[in-house]
């Protein structure tokens, strides 16, 4: 073993000792391993985003429906007369069940698009 090897060995031991000392300092300065208050606080915040989202979407949907419902008659009473024939033809061509099925499919697609993936089961 040369003097250079000795010096390197001493330096490595010195580094290892400092690493241990540094780890101990970080450990000493670390927060407690388990803090039930912190955990409870996090858990209380978990559902909040979803609830807010549901309330916002539900509220917006209900308001929109109310506005649309109040305007519907005056808005489409004129054109509806012209559409009667077309819708009648469509109903004759597709059948009312097919039209309702299509509407429900569109509704389901809309819900699936709005609600984020992986949250359906949670709701």
């Amino acid at each position: 073993m040369t003097m250079n090897d000795d010096a390197m060995a001493v330096e490595a031991a010195d580094d290892a000792a400092f690493d241990a000392e540094l780890s101990a300092m970080f450990q000493e300065a670390a927060p407690p391993a388990e803090d039930p208050v912190f955990t409870a606080h996090v858990v209380s915040q978990l559902g909040r985003t979803d609830r807010t989202r549901l309330l916002a979407l539900g509220g917006a949907g209900a308001t929109g429906s109310a506005v649309a419902g109040s305007q519907l008659e005056s808005l489409i009473s004129g054109p509806l007369q012209h559409l009667d024939g077309v819708l009648g033809q469509a109903a004759g061509f597709m059948g009312p069940e097919a039209i309702v099925t299509g509407l429900f499919a569109a509704l389901a697609l809309g819900v699936a698009w709005i609600i984020p993936k992986g949250r359906l089961t949670a709701i």
Partner: protein, 180 residues
């Protein structure tokens, strides 16, 4: 609730199980909070960011691929939260500086024990990325490759940041000891 991380994550993914997630929070909170406390040097802010980290992890858990450890994934979210918060604080400080002539004082925890204050002062000597790498490896208990994943830095850069940071800390503590 018991089980390894993978089982608990599967429960959270399958049914949004909050009890399973609470177990994950209990298991990893020390690493995440410790990391953020050493990075922020402000305990209240660090705890706020740690809470945001866990809430974000719950909402985005489908994005965890299972390739690395869950702790490393959490530390990556925590580091991103820290960077975003630091950016906001910098712009807020700049706005404040325009209004006030005197410099803004950064807060440290009042009445903190001496060893902790020493460690935070020593860490303040390091560059931002050096500090992040050293803290992730020593406070978060991450390996160099996990720290590389968490910070988005190349593995070689993380290793050199840790070595250089450790050398700077050693020099700081030696200077302090010599002065005492």
């Amino acid at each position: 609730m018991t089980g390894d991380d993978a089982e608990l994550i599967a429960l959270v993914l399958a049914a949004g199980d909050q009890r399973a997630f609470a177990t994950l929070v209990t298991r990893h909170q020390q690493a995440v909070r410790g990391l953020l406390m050493r990075l922020c040097r402000n305990h209240a802010l660090a705890d706020d960011l740690a809470q945001d980290t866990f809430v974000k992890a719950f909402n985005k858990i489908s994005g965890y691929s299972g390739a690395g450890s869950f702790r490393a994934w959490l530390c990556r979210i925590a580091y991103n939260e820290f960077l975003m918060s630091a950016r906001k604080r910098k712009s807020a400080d700049r706005a404040l500086e325009r209004l006030q002539a005197e410099p803004h004082e950064t807060s440290t925890q009042p009445g903190a024990p001496g060893a902790r204050v020493d460690l935070d002062r020593a860490l303040a000597e390091l560059g931002e990325e050096e500090r992040a790498c050293v803290v992730m490896c020593f406070a978060g208990g991450l390996s160099h490759s996990e720290a590389a994943d968490a910070t988005g830095l190349p593995l070689g850069t993380v290793k050199s940041h840790v070595n250089r940071g450790r050398a700077k800390l050693k020099a700081w503590f030696e200077r302090k000891e010599a002065a005492a």
